[in-house]
Amino acid sequence: MLAQIHVTFKEGVLDPQGKTVHHALNDLGYDEVLDVHIGKYLEVKLDSVSEEEAEIRVREMCERLLANTVIESFRFKLVSTE
């Protein structure tokens, strides 16, 4: 099983990297770019566990380690790798 996890900054938290990349894209002539947000994308490969269990475990991993919930939120999807 593969957990595809997205970790992004919460609303209201300034994302300096996104801002810089936004500017850089505009400078490069991509005027259509209105906003950029940069987050993390994690792929966690799991040994066969049931989907329900994986759901619980991955949520826990995110809360404990993979995201800092003071500033970040996360979402994830489980995909079968069979």
Binding site: V13, L14, P16, Q17, R64, V70, I71
Partner: protein, 229 residues
């Protein structure tokens, strides 16, 4: 004062803290290995030093806070023991929830190593009692993830409770955007918990405490701790 310096695999200011506490200030100083969960009740001060404890991978301090030694540190902190987190140590204290808020990438998006000025905002703590109010200290910073963030409500809460210990400022003590090197909210450079026994700061007082250099401003923090133990 009996001091313990925690060594994570990627700590690199551990030796600097040891040098200052042991060789310069003549305090009893011990190493604490991150894999050991031990009774710290006999210690007067635990230092979480700077560095890149786990390469700063994922987020600075995120992985280290699960080290066995952190259970001991948290236990000590909850029982009123003094804990000082410098730079990466500050990041670990935030990740472990001993201090509120988070540290983000500098707004310059670059690592910054240089001398900055901080203003002492509270002298009513074990870490700053030897400083005069509004005293300006010149202290080096060296970090990539040092931009302090907390929501506005909690920030004013910190202010009210006197938990903000240092703010970035200029040589004369005034605070402006240009004197804030990393974009921290409220120019916060260091803060403590409500009980005032856990303190974290981004600047490195151990880098300006050896009299071989002209600047020894960092000593005031260590001297504060020594005088109260």
């Amino acid at each position: 004062m009996k001091c313990g310096i925690v060594v994570f695999p990627g700590s690199n200011c551990d030796h600097d803290c040891y040098h200052i506490l042991k060789k310069i200030l003549n305090q009893e100083t011990h190493w604490l290995w991150h894999k050991d969960e031990v009774d710290l009740s006999s210690f007067d001060l635990i230092v979480l030093p700077g560095g890149f404890s786990y390469g700063d991978y994922l987020r600075a301090g995120a992985i280290s806070r699960f080290s066995p030694v952190m259970n001991s540190v948290i236990h000590l902190a909850e029982n009123g023991g003094n804990v000082l987190g410098i730079c990466n140590g500050f990041q670990i204290l935030l990740e472990s929830g001993l201090l509120p808020g988070a540290l983000m990438q500098n707004h310059t998006r670059k690592f910054i190593c240089k001398n900055v000025y901080v203003r002492v905002e509270t002298t009513d703590t074990p870490f700053t009692q030897k400083c005069n109010d509004k005293l300006v200290l010149e202290i080096p910073i060296a970090h990539h993830q040092g931009s302090y963030y907390i929501d506005p409500h909690s920030l004013s809460d910190l202010e009210e409770k006197g938990q903000i210990l240092f703010r970035y400022c200029d040589a004369k003590g005034s605070i402006s955007e240009s004197s804030n090197p990393n974009g921290s909210v409220g120019a916060v450079a260091g803060l403590c918990n409500e009980q005032k026994n856990v303190m974290g700061m981004m600047p490195h007082p151990e880098r300006c405490a050896d009299p071989l250099w002209a600047n020894t401003d960092g000593q005031s923090i260590f001297q504060s701790l020594i005088s109260q133990s």
